[in-house]
């Protein structure tokens, strides 16, 4: 691309400064061009508005109402009532917030660094590295329904792998992995980490392939050991990839839904596994839906996501500008 740009625009470029006046600029584009531009910009813009912004704004609007989702005439304005109810009188809300935070911390502290670690190891010329890569990345290829099914089999109290081993080691002991409200979140987190690690590994591996080997060589010549080479040379050199991984981790944690939904039996939030995303569907999907209430929860999740991602991006770009 960069080699093409100097040759492509020479014709109109000198014309624009020569004529100067902004009034004459439209003439550069014929009606066909303008139509083309309008279509090229208009269609995606319309799609964005209709499919992203309109629903988002509509749910913000609905979050101030009470509605059962059947007749438009039944929408009643209730002001901040939904938010007040959620914050003060909705038992699963604060556990859900806590679980979302646990999810974020867990994912950021264990599977993400582990994925980076694996990528770093696999980047060195190991034997069978392709086999390892495929094996570790495989969970990411599976659909979440399959991931849920696999872990359901592992956690099954009667015929499951884990309880089978446990029973052989200490007969008569039962651990209710998915049923115990103090345990099931961690059980689900392990399933999610299993998938997340492979994802991070592939992302990081792609980044590592782009690192100039001369950097590592120079570090080795200066007497840096493996750990120092990674922490002081490779890691900072991979800043763009690090940013992507952090954003991916934060987003995946906040929107965590599918694995929990599948392992929870597909009926919405279960005790011990409440998440904001599940509470939203609890209230919106189903026979007697509370669209307003669910929308208010969705707005809360939106604000949390915006805060998390906004802070990060602002900080990051500020550093970039310097």
């Amino acid at each position: 691309m960069p080699s093409a740009s100097p040759t492509a625009p020479p014709a109109p470029a000198p014309q624009a400064p020569a004529t100067g006046a902004s009034r004459r600029r439209p003439r550069r584009l014929g009606p066909g061009d303008r139509l083309f531009l309008a279509v090229v910009i208009g269609v995606p813009l319309l799609a964005l508005l209709v499919f992203v912004w309109l629903p988002a704004l509509a749910s913000m609007g609905l979050s101030f109402t009470s509605w059962d989702g059947i007749y438009l005439s039944d929408i009643h304005w209730v002001g901040l009532d939904n938010y007040h109810q959620i914050l003060t009188n909705y038992p699963p809300f604060w556990p859900a917030v806590r679980h979302n935070v646990i999810w974020l911390l867990f994912t950021a502290l264990l599977p993400t660094p582990f994925g980076i670690f694996l990528a770093y190891q696999l980047d060195r010329k190991l034997r069978f590295t392709r086999v390892y890569q495929t094996a570790i990345f495989l969970p990411m290829v599976l659909s979440l329904a399959v991931v849920g099914l696999i872990w359901e089999i592992i956690y099954n109290p009667d015929t499951g792998l884990l309880d089978g081993i446990l029973n052989a080691a200490a007969p008569g002991h039962h651990v209710d992995w998915l049923g115990d409200p103090d345990l099931n979140l961690w059980a689900v987190l392990v399933a999610s980490a299993w998938r997340h690690t492979g994802y991070i590994m592939i992302l990081y591996l792609a980044g590592l392939k782009g690192v100039d080997p001369a950097l590592k060589e120079a570090a080795a010549l200066d007497g840096a050991n493996g750990r120092q080479t990674f922490l002081k040379v490779v890691f900072p050199a991979l800043k763009p990839v690090n940013v992507i991984i952090l954003v991916v981790t934060v987003m995946e944690s906040l929107r965590a839904f599918d694995v929990v939904y599948v392992l929870g039996g597909g009926v919405g939030s279960k005790p011990g596994m409440e998440l904001l995303s599940l509470l939203i569907t609890d209230n919106i999907i189903g026979e007697s839906s509370h669209i307003g209430y669910g929308s208010a929860l969705a707005v809360v999740l939106l604000l949390v996501s915006l805060a998390a991602i906004g802070t990060f991006l602002v900080q990051n770009f500020r550093k970039e500008d310097r």
Partner: protein, 437 residues
Amino acid sequence: MTLQSRTVLTAPQPSRRTVVGGLFGLGAAALAAPLLTACGGGAAADPKTVTFGSNGADATPKSAYAAVTKAFAKESGLTVKTNTVDHDSFQKSISSYLQGTPDDVFTWFAGYRMQYFAKKGLATPLDDVWEKIGGGFSEATKQLSQGEDGKFYFVPLYNYPWGVFYRKSLFQERGYTVPRTWSEFTALAKRMKKDGLSPIASGYGGGDAWSILGAFDYLNLRANGYEFHMSLMRGEVSWTDKRAATTLDLWREISPYYQQGAGGRSWQDAAQSLLDKKSGMAVIGLFLGQQVSDEALRADIDFFPFPEIDPANGQDAVEAPTDGFMLSRRPKNEKGAKKLLEFLGSAKAEGLYMGVDPSNVAVHAQADTGSYNPLQKKSAELIASAKHITQFADRDSDPGFISTVVLPGLTQWLGHPDDGAALLKRIESQRSRFFTS
């Protein structure tokens, strides 16, 4: 490099712009497609076809419904187009399904759940159908089929009782006797535990949390009576009422006898443990029979009504959910659909259905009971003898209230049962959200 530039020069036909334009055109068409098809949804009605939305996706009910619709087609000359959806998905999407372009006739449940959609105007009244089929049904069934406005909205097909199921041979081997009262019941459970059995089979993991509600309903019905139970279900009395606490106290009494690891087990696995004689009893519905394919094993299954707690209430209430059909609000072929409903409300249709799916009991008074197996006979007698018939917690109450408030609360409590005061307070705090309008 040179080769590339040459091809670009010699091939001026599809310029970059037309290609991009074409792509965007395609994109726009793809975006517009759902809108267009949505507009064209109301296709012209075919007077010879009736559409039927069914939630009977499992093999047994599916072939049973097929037998019924086939017989109707033969009799009336109309074609029935059946649209089968998985049972749970059907329930979850019912609201949007009924607002969109639903099938003319659809399967649904009697009780509050039916009344809700009738009240919202999403179903067509069936008074004219009932004029023809009304003679075949008892007064209790008629009540179950009416909306709050007194009009009929529902045509019942079958029901099935909940009870305490067990294997006859196990009771014989161990010398257990069927308990009639609460103290006999708890004593039996205790004895079973000593004998190394899981006294009460239980599996409410994953999507099966509903299966615990049978025990809750019966405990509440036996201890506090039908009137209180229904008021509690309809959100008319406070959940912090002392009587609700009594129910939890009784439940806590038997919770040590529940099968271990129940929170992660499916109800099917729990039922299997009963069939394998690893568990002694199970509070479950007659649909347990759908787990059995061996007729010898089926003959070994029996049940007894949930034991008496307060002699004032005795065993007068039976939980017997009724399934049947409704007519959507703007059926494309109303005349044909009503004909189908009349047929579905006949003894013949019920006989056809029960012939394929024997884990239910017909509700039509003239239905042929000659081919009933012993379990069906006993079920029919139990239901006929009942003074009060309840549907099931999630059918007698607002399903959203049950599934998002009561069920998570009860399953969590059942893991570590305490006096339940905190749980009842939590449930009560959400009641007004579901029962004001």
